[in-house]
C-alpha cells in the first residue's frame, strides 16, 4: 500500500506528509515533479510549501510540472488525490478542483491551530470521520482565502462538495471562526466524483499528540482504511 507524495521545487511539507502516512500505517514515496510516472501508487498527496516560490501566483507554475499529467490521469481513473495547502492551490490552478485562492482577509500570514468541521464523510479522506466532527488542525498560509463565483459556490454546496469548514469554539461556521475570509468558511472541497480533495489546513502536521493535536490522523487513517478495503476487494 503506497502513497505517492509529489515533490515540487519549493515543497516544504513533503517529508511531513510522508512521515504522517507512515504514522497512519502505510508507505509513502517521494516522487520528483519532473518524473512522469506515479509507479504503483494507490493514492497521491500534493504537499504544502511554496512550489516554484509561488512567485507568479500560488500553484500557477507547478501545474505545468511533468508529473501533473500523471496526477490528472490518476484522478480521472478515480484514484484518491489529496492536496494540502499549497497542494490544494495547485489542484485549483490545474483545474482538478473549482475555485481560487486570494490573499487572507487580514493580509497577513496566519499560523495557528484552528477548529475545522468535517462536513461530509463520503470521501476516501473523511470516511473514518463523523459528519459534523470538529478537528483541530494547524493552518499556515498567506493565501488561503477561498473564493469562486456565486454559481460555483452554489454548485459546491448543492452537490455536497464542501468537505471542511472553519468553525468557532462552539462548532459554528461563524465570522469569528473564519481565519482567512474564505467564502462560506470553506476550508476544503472535493471534485464531483469525490476522489480529489483539497484543504488548506495541515492534517499531516497533526498526527501525534506530541505536536499539539492528533486529529489530522483521522484523514490519513481514512485513506489507509480505504486503500486496504479497495485492495482486498
Amino acid at each position: 500500500m503506497t502513497v505517492a507524495v509529489v515533490v515540487f521545487p519549493g515543497s516544504n511539507s513533503d517529508v511531513d506528509a510522508q512521515h504522517a502516512v507512515r504514522v497512519a500505517g502505510a508507505e509513502a514515496t517521494l516522487v520528483w515533479h519532473k518524473d512522469t510516472d506515479l509507479g504503483d501508487a494507490q493514492a497521491v498527496i500534493l504537499p504544502g510549501g511554496f512550489a516554484h516560490g509561488d512567485y507568479l501566483r500560488t500553484g500557477a507554475i507547478a501545474r505545468f510540472s511533468p508529473i501533473m499529467s500523471a496526477v490528472r490521469a490518476f484522478a480521472d481513473r478515480g484514484g484518491p488525490v489529496l492536496g494540502i495547502c499549497n497542494g490544494f492551490q495547485v489542484l485549483l490552478e490545474a483545474g482538478l478542483l473549482p475555485g481560487a485562492m486570494v490573499r487572507n482577509r487580514d493580509i497577513k500570514f496566519v499560523s495557528r491551530l484552528v477548529p475545522v468541521r468535517v462536513e461530509q464523510a463520503d470521501t476516501p479522506f473523511t470516511a473514518g470521520c463523523r459528519q459534523g466532527q470538529v478537528l483541530h488542525l494547524p493552518i499556515a498560509h498567506g493565501e488561503g482565502n477561498f473564493t469562486a463565483d456565486a454559481d460555483t459556490i452554489a454548485a459546491l454546496e448543492a452537490n455536497r462538495q464542501v468537505i471542511f469548514r472553519y468553525v468557532d469554539a462552539d462548532g459554528e461556521a461563524s465570522a469569528p471562526g473564519n481565519p482567512n475570509g474564505s467564502v462560506h468558511n470553506i476550508a476544503g472541497i472535493c471534485n464531483a466524483t469525490r476522489n480529489v480533495v483539497g484543504l488548506m489546513p495541515h492534517p499531516e502536521r497533526a498526527c501525534e499528540a506530541a505536536l499539539g493535536s492528533a486529529d489530522g490522523l483521522a484523514l490519513l487513517s481514512s485513506l489507509v482504511h480505504h486503500l486496504g478495503a479497495s485492495s482486498s476487494r
Binding site: G10, W32, F50, Y55, I107, G142, R205, A210
Partner: protein, 751 residues
C-alpha cells in the same frame, strides 16, 4: 601614480594606520580591488578587530563540543552519533534601513550557516528589539521585521519556534534583529569551510551576482545618521525559493562525499569565502571573475568580489567528481560553475579574463587583520544610574501596576507576531509557541532540543557585567524549565561604537560576565556574532548581549510548559525573592525610571536551581514550571494561568525586602533572578520540597491553582484580584490593538 589617497581610504572605512599595515603585509601599494578586499575583510563586521581580544576569554570547550567558534556554526554532541548545529547572527543595521528585506536576509544568512555545516535546519528563533510602539516609525519597523522574518522562514519551510521581543525607546533609532538557527546532523557528516588539495576545482552555485549589498559589511561597521536612508542599495534582497533549492541541493551533494569544503557567501561575499576557505585550509586559490554568473552586464572585478548578493555558495570539490556534483545541482535547476582552483601556497589570486587583477596572501585578509585593545573607561554616569532612591517616590497601587504591566508590549503576548510565523512545518515542534522555550524533537530518537534566547538591555546598561551573567542565566533557566539540561550557547553581542571607551568598557564587562556565567553553568560558547556601532545620531542602544542557550531534553515526551494543568495543585516558588526593583519593568512603566542596580546573581544558587528543576521534570513531579523575569512573580503567576483554559491561582507571597511603602510592589514586581514558579500535584508536594531542601534550593509554598481569578496577596494583605479571562484577553490582544490603530501594509510573501 597612486590612486589611493585619504578620501579613498575614508570611503573604504580604513584608518591611516590600517593602511600602513596593508602596505607592510603587501610589500607594495595595493590596487583599488585589493584595497576593496581589505576594506570589507578588515571591517568590524568581518574581522572582529575590536572584540576579538575579549571573545578569546570565553569558555569554548566541553565534553559535548564538536565545533567551537571559528566555523560557519557551532556544534554539540546530542548522542546517537548526532550533533545539534546552531548559531545566532544579527541583521540590525539592514533592518533599520529596510525592515522587511533586512530581517528576511538575516534569516536567510543564518540558515545558510547551518546547512553549510552539513546539518538540516529544524528551527529558527529570533531576539528582536524595537522602540516603544507609540511611534509610527517603531510600528513600521516592527511590522516589517516580523513580516520579513516570517516571509523568509515560512517560504523555505523552516519553522520559527521561539524567540523574544522587547520594546524600549533605547532601540527606536536602532532596532535589533538577532536570528538563531538550529539544525541537526550526523557527527560524521559535519563539513567545514576549508579549501584543501591543490588542483581541486572551486565551484560557485546559487543566485547570480548583482550590484546589491556592495559594502554591506562596511555599512554594518558604522554609525547611522540622517543620510542612512541613502544606504538602502547596500541592503540585499532575499529569495527564499532560491535558498530552498540551494539547501536541498547542497545537502544532497554533501551526502556524496564529493565535497572538500563549502562556505556561504554572506558578508563580504566572494572576498570572504575565497580568503577564509583558503586560510582555513592552508592553501591558496585562483579565481577568475569572468566565470562568476552575473545578473548585470559590465560589472567590474571590484563589484563582483564585494557584492553581497544573497543565496550563493562556494564549494571545493574533489577533482574528478565534478560531474556528480553538477548533476545534482542540475536536478534542482541550479547551475554549478567552476570559477577557480585550489593552489599550493597561500595566495589569493583574482583574475579577470585571464589577467591577474589582485594577488595577496589570503591570511592578510583574515588572520592578519588588525586586533585592537581599544581603551576602556567606566562611564562617569555609571554610579549615578545605579542609585535608586525609592523614598522620593510613591508606589503605584499594585492592582493598577499589574494591569499596566500585562499590556506592556514587552510583557504582553507576542501572539500578533508569532501567528505570522509557520511554527508547525517539519512536524518537530513539540511545544506550542509562547508556552515555553522553543522545543523541537529529534525524530528517530527519544530526545528533544530546547532553545531560548534572552538578554535584558536595561540590566546591561545598569551593570554590564551582571547583565552578561543574567543573560546566560535566564536563557539557561528557560531551557531548564522545559526539563532540558543546558549544553551549549551562542551569543550575539549588540553594542554601540567601540571607538568610545565607555562603550568598549560595557562590551568588555558584558563579555566577562558571560564568561563567568558560562563557566559556572558549564555551557560553552560555540559561536556567535558581534554587532557594534548600534548608534543613531550619537545615541547608543542599551548594551544588549543576547544569549541563545541550547538544552538537551532526554525524554522529549516529558517536556514541561508554563501553564497550570489542573485545579487544586500546589504552587511553589523555587529560589529567593530579594524584592529588587532596579532595572525592572515596574519602575520603567509606573515611574518612568531605568535606574538602580541589576538583580543580584549567585551562580552557584542558579546552577543548583536549574539542576533541581531538570531533575524534578525528568522524574515527572512537576505540572508546570515558569521562571520569574520582567514584571516579577506577579506576571509569572498570571502567565501560568494564561493558555491554561482559565485555571486561576490564589497565592500569598511572604513580604520580601525592606519594610515600607514599596514592600508589596517590590515583592510582586521585583525581578530577582534564579526563581522558578512550579505547580505540583498535592500528593507530590512533599517529594518536591524534600528534593529542593536536599539540593539546597529555597522552596516556598505560596498557594494553589483553581478558581477563575488571579488573587495575589503579600504577607496576608490582598493586592491583586482579577478575573483570569479579563486579564488574559487584555494580555493577549495588547500588541495587536496597538498595531491596528493604523492601516496595514502589503509587504509579505504568499502561499
Amino acid at each position: 601614480m597612486s590612486v589611493i589617497d585619504a578620501a579613498v581610504l575614508e570611503r573604504h572605512g580604513l584608518k591611516p594606520d590600517e593602511y600602513a599595515r596593508i602596505l607592510e603585509l603587501m610589500g607594495r601599494e595595493p590596487n583599488l580591488l585589493e584595497l576593496g578586499l581589505f576594506s570589507v575583510m578588515w571591517s568590524e563586521h568581518c574581522s572582529y578587530k575590536s572584540s576579538r581580544v575579549h571573545l578569546k576569554t570565553l569558555p569554548t570547550t566541553g565534553p559535548r563540543v564538536v565545533q567551537g567558534p571559528g566555523e560557519n556554526a557551532g556544534a554539540v554532541d546530542i548522542g546517537d552519533g548526532l550533533c545539534a548545529v546552531f548559531k545566532i547572527e544579527s541583521h540590525n543595521h539592514p533592518s533599520f534601513i529596510e525592515p522587511y528585506q533586512g530581517a528576511a536576509t538575516g534569516v536567510g544568512g543564518i540558515i545558510r550557516d547551518i546547512f553549510t555545516m552539513g546539518a538540516r535546519p529544524i528551527g529558527l528563533l529570533n531576539a528582536l528589539r524595537f522602540g516603544a510602539l507609540d511611534t509610527a516609525l517603531a510600528r513600521r519597523i516592527f511590522e516589517g521585521v516580523v513580516a520579513g522574518v516570517g516571509g523568509y522562514g515560512n517560504s523555505i519551510g523552516i519553522p520559527t519556534i521561539g524567540g523574544e521581543i522587547v520594546f524600549d525607546a533605547a532601540y527606536a533609532g536602532n532596532p535589533l534583529v538577532n536570528v538563531l538557527c538550529l539544525g541537526t546532523a550526523h557527527r560524521r557528516d559535519i563539513i567545514k569551510g576549508a579549501a584543501r588539495g591543490a588542483g581541486n576545482p572551486v565551484f560557485y552555485v546559487g543566485a547570480r551576482t548583482g550590484r546589491d549589498g556592495i559594502h554591506g559589511a562596511t555599512m554594518a561597521s558604522a554609525e547611522f545618521d540622517e543620510s542612512s536612508a541613502e544606504k538602502r542599495p547596500a541592503v540585499q534582497v532575499g529569495d527564499p525559493f532560491m535558498e530552498k533549492l540551494l539547501m536541498e541541493a547542497c545537502l544532497e551533494v554533501m551526502q556524496t562525499g564529493a565535497l572538500v569544503g563549502i562556505q556561504d557567501m554572506g558578508a563580504a561575499g566572494l572576498s570572504c569565502a575565497t580568503s577564509e576557505m583558503g586560510s582555513r585550509g592552508g592553501h591558496g586559490m585562483d579565481v577568475d571573475v569572468m566565470h562568476v554568473p552575473q545578473r548585470e552586464s559590465g560589472m567590474t572585478p571590484y563589484e563582483i568580489m564585494l557584492s553581497e548578493s544573497q543565496e550563493r555558495m562556494l564549494m571545493v570539490v574533489h577533482r574528478g567528481r565534478e560531474a556528480e556534483v553538477e548533476a545534482i545541482f542540475r536536478k534542482w535547476d541550479l547551475h554549478a560553475v567552476q570559477v577557480g582552483v585550489v593552489t599550493e601556497g597561500d595566495r589569493l589570486r583574482i583574475f579577470d579574463h585571464g589577467t591577474l587583477v589582485a594577488d595577496l596572501p589570503n591570511r592578510a585578509l583574515t588572520d592578519e587583520a588588525p586586533v585592537y585593545h581599544r581603551p576602556m573607561q567606566r562611564p562617569s554616569w555609571q554610579d549615578e544610574v545605579q542609585q535608586l532612591d525609592l523614598s522620593a517616590l510613591a508606589p503605584a497601587p499594585a492592582a493598577a501596576a499589574f494591569d499596566t504591566l500585562l499590556v506592556t508590549p514587552t510583557i504582553a503576548s507576542k501572539r500578533w507576531a508569532y501567528q505570522q510565523y509557520d511554527h508547525s512545518v517539519g512536524t518537530n515542534t513539540i511545544a506550542q509557541p509562547g508556552l515555553t522555550a522553543a522545543v523541537a524533537r529529534v525524530k528517530g530518537t527519544p530526545v528533544g532540543l530546547a532553545v531560548s534566547v534572552d538578554g535584558n538591555g536595561r540590566y546591561g546598561y545598569l551593570n554590564p557585567h551582571r547583565g552578561g551573567m543574567l543573560a546566560v542565566a535566564e536563557a539557561a533557566r528557560n531551557v531548564a524549565c522545559t526539563g532540558a539540561t543546558p549544553i551549549g550557547a551562542t551569543n550575539n553581542l549588540n553594542f554601540g561604537n567601540p571607538e568610545r571607551p565607555e562603550i568598549m568598557w560595557q562590551f568588555g564587562e558584558a563579555v566577562r560576565g558571560i564568561g563567568d556565567a558560562c563557566r559556572a553553568l558549564e555551557v560553552p560558547i560555540t559561536g556567535g556574532n558581534v554587532s557594534l556601532y548600534n548608534e543613531t545620531e550619537g545615541r547608543a542602544i542599551y548594551p544588549t548581549p543576547v544569549l541563545g542557550v541550547l538544552g538537551l531534553l532526554e525524554q522529549a515526551d516529558r517536556v514541561c510548559t508554563r501553564t497550570f494543568k489542573q485545579a487544586g495543585d500546589v504552587v511553589m516558588v523555587l529560589g529567593d525573592n530579594l524584592a529588587e526593583l532596579g532595572g525592572s519593568e515596574y519602575l520603567a512603566q509606573m515611574h518612568g525610571l531605568v535606574r538602580g542596580d541589576a538583580p543580584a546573581l549567585d551562580l552557584a544558587a542558579e546552577r543548583a536551581l536549574q539542576q533541581l528543576v531538570v531533575r524534578l521534570i525528568g522524574d515527572g513531579l512537576l505540572h508546570s514550571a515558569h521562571d520569574c523575569a520582567e514584571g516579577g512573580i506577579a506576571v509569572t503567576l498570571a502567565e501560568c494561568t494564561f493558555d491554561s483554559g482559565g485555571i486561576g491561582v490564589t497565592a500569598d507571597l511572604p513580604a520580601a525586602g525592606a519594610p515600607g511603602a514599596f514592600q508589596p510592589v517590590a515583592t510582586l514586581f521585583g525581578e530577582s533572578a534564579s526563581r522558578i514558579v512550579v505547580s505540583v500535584a498535592p500528593g507530590q508536594a512533599d517529594a518536591v520540597r524534600a528534593a529542593a531542601r536536599e539540593a539546597g534550593v529555597p522552596v516556598t509554598v505560596i498557594g494553589s491553582t483553581g478558581g477563575r481569578v488571579i488573587a495575589l496577596a503579600v504577607g496576608g494583605q490582598p493586592q491583586v484580584h482579577r478575573e483570569v479571562a479579563a486579564a488574559e484577553a487584555a494580555w493577549a490582544t495588547a500588541i495587536g490593538d496597538r498595531m491596528r490603530r493604523r492601516p496595514p501594509t502589503r509587504e509579505g510573501a504568499t502561499e
